[in-house]
Amino acid sequence: MLKPSLNDLINSSFKSILKNKGRTALTSLGIIIGVTSVILLTSIGNGLQIYINQQFESLGSNTVFVAPGKIFNDKGGFNNNESGRFISTSFTQDDVTALKRSIKNTTIVPVTISQVEVKSNKITKNDVTIVGSTYQYAASANYLPSSGNGRTFNKEEEDKKANVIVLGHTLAKDLFPSGSALGKKVIVKGKTMKVIGVLDKKGGSFGGPDVDQYGFAPIGIIFDFVGNQKINQMLIKTQDKTDVPQTKIDITKVLLKKYDKDAFTVFDSSQLLSSINAIIGTLTIALSGIAAISLVVGGIGIMNIMLVTVTERTREIGLRKAIGAYPRAILIQFLIEAIILSSIGGVVGILLGALGTWGISQFFPAQITVGSISIAFGVSFAVGVIFGVAPARKASMLSPIEALRYE
């Protein structure tokens, strides 16, 4: 049986560590910093992933997108350098008609985008993005004004090319700084249009398109603005998400008759989502890996202090051996001290990381993961074992005679 018991050893290690509180705090600092940064970075990565997933869920999982160019590479990531990346194919009304004819039970929504000047009675804004689409677009893309904020255009208005517009939250605020934009008139590229709806704040997504700055109008009006009938992308809503794979195949078949395979991409939100998740995941691991370097540095700090401690306490080790401590008891005692030092660092780091995550989550999506907590604790424990062994071995191998004679 192990003498002293593990319990006794942990007890006496704690006592030794607490005799030097200042040193303990400084020694653990390296691990604290390492663990805190690993926790924070994984929390941010995780929060980002959750946020993006939520955004995609609001789009609906039964939506198929058709966009120009080759968006994904063959491995499922985003296409960065393969051919087709920058092809800006545009689709036509004929494509929409062809798709409508061959694919049943779906809603096909063409989207075209133009950047134009928009004026209210006082303010002029240049290069405002106006999304032109059919009346089904707002429902498909989840851009419906909430009650009290007007409505989106209907089929009749779309067919008549009525001069109506729905404004994004920020755009409405910019054009009409005082009072509601609803019911007011705006002049879009010389054409007077009535504001029939204002969207709630959607929030920009990290430098990506900020729909709060957009306007939404019937597609025919945009065709008139740009002087052609080019369609930039298409949304295809299926009845059910189980129809998505077959619909994608059918769409591809139709489009391949006219376009090269690299000239367009048919994808659904899960595909886009998994690509984005893969990127965030890789980024999180890479950043956490860099942060983990500080854990190694912290571990070396612990080893350094433990070596100093062993030298300082040479006489104590000699005494313990003289009165009956066998080498393994000394080894375990000093190993436990190193593990306690690094675990204290781990626990404090986890607490600081949790606190920091809470702070960040006030203005940026961040969410702590149980996985990162257990990994952080496991790693700091392992750091204690790895960097504690050498000093502990040194202590256990001291000759009691030499150790007692040490000045």
Binding site: K3, E316, K321, A322, P327, P400
Partner: protein, 236 residues
């Protein structure tokens, strides 16, 4: 000798017996015998001092008696059992059960209470946790320091620290107390008190005490003096 070791004369079985102990050190190409065929026995209840000038092999002998070092050749019998072949772990266990050390430098753990210092050897023994502090307090009472139980070494005088160390040497109820220059770091008054304490332990409790010192006057305080010179026993 065989007669002395016979089972019928139990009370005369030496607690410790050295037989032809040789300890050889090698320095480069030259070897020299720090101990050259040393034999003697210590009997239960004896107060023996080992003395000799520096370099005589006194320290080497003390390390071998203290089971801290293995002899190059020869036999060590502890209560009749040959322990010469014991390995490190078995020696540690034997030290824990049979020996009580008192050092010149006291060797108390700093920032640690007198009670915890006294209880330290019990950490490595089979004594249950609950009994350790009780035993330690008993020993502190025995050396007259019951009121200093919670004090750390820094709060104690040199003489008091050495008495705590003696309490620590007693706590495992050893068969031999081995004291190495126990008064070397003390003023003469405190030193005299420590020697008085040893006499008390010897006379009133029948403890076996081995006192190692270079000081002939101190050595004379013991019942019997073993003088070592050039690695050999010159008088016992």
């Amino acid at each position: 000798m065989t007669k002395l070791l016979s089972k019928n004369a139990k009370n005369r079985t030496p607690v410790l017996e050295l037989k032809n102990i040789v300890k050889t050190y090698t320095l480069g190409t030259t070897t020299f015998n720090a101990l050259d065929s040393v034999s003697f026995a210590i009997y239960p209840g004896e107060f023996v001092s080992i003395t000799g000038p520096s370099g005589s092999g006194k320290s080497t002998l003390m390390h071998i008696i203290g089971l801290l070092d293995n002899p190059t050749s020869g036999q060590i019998l502890l209560e009749g059992q040959d322990i010469s072949h014991f390995k490190e772990e078995a020696l540690a266990k034997t030290r824990n059960i049979t020996l009580g050390f008192v050092f010149q430098q006291f060797n108390l753990l700093a920032k640690t209470s007198a009670t915890e210092n006294v209880a330290l050897p019990l950490l490595y023994s089979d004594v249950p946790k609950n009994d350790r502090n009780k035993l330690a307090l008993e020993m502190l009472t025995k050396v007259g320091l019951a009121d200093k139980a919670p004090n750390t070494p820094a709060q104690l005088s040199g003489g008091q620290q050495q008495r705590v160390a003696i309490a620590r040497a007693l706590v495992n109820n050893p068969i031999i107390i081995l004291a190495d220059e126990p008064t070397g770091n003390l003023d003469s008054k405190s030193g005299a008190e420590i020697i008085k304490l040893f006499h008390h332990l010897h006379e009133d409790e029948g403890r076996t005490i081995v006192l190692v010192t270079h000081d002939m006057d101190l050595a004379k305080q013991a019942q019997r003096i073993i003088i070592i010179r050039d690695g050999k026993i010159s008088s016992k």
